[in-house]
Amino acid sequence: MPRSYLRLFQAIITLFIICAFVGGLIGAVNALTADRIFDLKLQKTENAMRTVMPSGNIFNEIGDVSGYNFDSSVSAFYEALNSDNTCIGYCVEAKPNGFASQITVLVGLSFDGTVQGVVITDCNGETPGLGNRVAEPGFTSQFNGKGSTLAFSTGGAPASNEVSAISGATYSSRGVYEGVSSCIRAAISYTSANGGEAK
């Protein structure tokens, strides 16, 4: 066999062994951490849902929402059940575009689309100190009690149906506003599709 083939063969074997080793390492670490990562994510979503829907006890995700004509930013829809197993409203997650990234908002809603609470579960891609302040309760609590007439204001005193943007963070604020609006519309269309006051 010519020398050049030998060297090629050696290179292939070495890379193969390295890849096998790295694959084994990642597999082992994955086996060690996968369950924990999954649990943490689940717990985080559940904690967020309890914040926006305090009397909720069990949250059932509605897997197939293709029939409800939701906005494309709506990423998950849950029915919230209280301790007597009666449905008391919805938790809806949406991922609207902010300034530099997608913001994840979770909204607790009653059947008629009135906002019970808003939590920002992810705004790490937004500007520190400006855009990521949309996660502060001072901003998110403005949405509470608002419904289908929700509107957005960038200056002056907000009307009773308006939320005002954080100054210097208009894009991020508008992103959250649009996300919450999508959630409100989703709640209303879900209720009407299921014939009024749920089950």
């Binding site: 290179a11 990642i26 670490v29 060690l32 985080k44 992810d122």
Partner: protein, 206 residues
């Protein structure tokens, strides 16, 4: 590396990694993560220590394999190993320090292309024994961490008025958000490097 007395003793290597040949402040390597992850001291510590851990692993592994890896494919081999370690560290952070991994975000996977790690692999681990490479990983990793902590303390103090999350400047301090953003990062980096050079060059009597 032209120190007269045993240049590979651990204290000498530490001094080089942290002070005289600091990867960020002297060699200006790894600028992207240094600018991006130095918004707070806790981010900087998390990033610095993650890089240190990966650097130690990759240095040891590459030094172990240095005679087996054919020259022509060495970069491919190094990158594969480094990517493997980074992925492992990313999973561990996700599982055990979720809030940190969330705030560092994309910069953890990006350690794969961190030039400090590849530079140490190519310039040191590929030519030195395993034990020396291990010490080099610690020294250079701590040098990187030290630089990040230095930059981030200035940025966190001026930008949020806190240090490691504890309020230092009081509630009346108006946060200078500029320092948390990219322009502030460049400004602080420039001044920290200048100050560091000033102090170290005085010590060397230049």
């Amino acid at each position: 590396m032209s120190k007269p007395r045993n240049p590979y003793s651990f204290p000498a290597m530490l001094k080089r990694g942290i002070i005289t040949e600091n990867p960020v402040l002297v060699q200006t390597l790894g600028m992207c993560p240094s600018l991006a992850t130095s918004t707070s001291v806790s981010n900087a510590l998390g990033m610095g220590l993650s890089v240190t851990l990966i650097l130690i692993c990759s240095n040891v592994m590459i030094s172990l394999l240095r005679k087996l890896i054919p020259d022509r494919i060495r970069i491919a081999a190094y990158i594969t190993l480094i990517a493997g370690f980074v992925t492992a560290v990313e999973m561990l952070l996700n599982a055990y320090l979720p809030s940190l991994s969330e705030s560092l975000g994309i910069f953890i996977p990006l350690i794969v292309v961190n030039c400090i790690i590849l530079a140490r692999a190519e310039a040191f681990a590929a030519k030195n024994t395993v034990y020396r490479s291990f010490k080099d990983g610690i020294a250079v990793g701590l040098g990187f961490t030290f630089a990040l902590v230095l930059i981030s303390s200035v940025r966190e103090l001026l930008g949020s008025g806190t240090l490691l999350g504890y309020p230092v400047l009081g509630a009346s301090y108006p946060d200078a958000t500029l320092f948390l953003m990219a322009p502030g990062a460049f400004l602080v980096l420039g001044f920290v490097v200048a100050g560091f050079r000033k102090i170290t060059s005085k010590k060397e009597g230049k």
